[in-house]
Symmetry: C2
Subunit: 198 residues, 2 copies
Amino acid sequence: METMNEIGPTHRRRGDALRRAILDAALELLGMVGYGQLTMEGVAARAGTGKAALYRRWPSREELVADALGDALPSPAAVPVSGEVRDDVLALLECMRTAFTSTHGAAFQAVKADGGPGAGLLHSVVQQRVVEPCERLVLDALRRGAERGQVRPDAVTTKMARVGPAMVIHHALTDGSGMSDDYLASIVDDVVLPLVRP
Amino acid sequence: METMNEIGPTHRRRGDALRRAILDAALELLGMVGYGQLTMEGVAARAGTGKAALYRRWPSREELVADALGDALPSPAAVPVSGEVRDDVLALLECMRTAFTSTHGAAFQAVKADGGPGAGLLHSVVQQRVVEPCERLVLDALRRGAERGQVRPDAVTTKMARVGPAMVIHHALTDGSGMSDDYLASIVDDVVLPLVRP
């Protein structure tokens, strides 16, 4: 352990810290200039490093921005799993709500306002890093619920797993106001659970 | 009738035909240059009329474009009403699907690709002219269903009326492929109806 601390992990920490500094610089710059005006040079300068350090990690500006935005979103994989289908589904819908709230931050707003390719990239980052994983995890929660007899086996389908997320997306797109805890709970209690209960 | 044909309606038809020509010109121009580059002068020239004819009808470019895009979308109010809650809800979800399909047209694609204010305008046109009316009409269909005993009275809520539309929006946003008739029918049969049935 002592030896590793002296050599390996120290280097690795430095690498992680640099990666973090680059992603933070990219996010800050996105918030200031939008996607259209962001350059690898600008991010490197802001992070106090060289372009080579960026290109070693991200082959293109698009992949750097996707990681910078993605890192600012909550991670569905980190949502804790309980023994109750209600709690599991609710926690995943809360993760989606947090993701949509996160996109009100300066970097996300600048990318959206900028429109064009940046807006499409943002949409796919939210989709791939939050919406799709959450839907897969809701399906897993339904499957575990079926094993415990809380869910009908024939309700363990991608369609049923989509209903809760679809309601959260609908609210995020159509209602300017925040999504209350009560509304989230009512999606689970009045819509998702009645559809999948034995 | 003869007299009216000679005076009133003839004038009105001319007015409608001019309005139609202006909206068509605006749509064509949107498809060619996007929202950012579209001008009232350009639309007037393409429609073979003057700027004054446009400003008499639309106080701003934004309102002209909203009407041009909105007119290219299906009208929820035109969806026929039957005596069956299943048919009524399905017809309204089909109207939404047609609306999302319509936005694959050149004008919509150009406005989306253009990003920025045009993309926001497009979102609100689809929202105001299709999504919101469809949801209100689904709620009406549930209400009529409740009167006939096909729907639980306590399921006649805006939340329940949103479930079907939310599933259609979800598909339009997350799945590149077309929405099949079978999928639409399964939203009604496996999701909406089981939630509202007595």
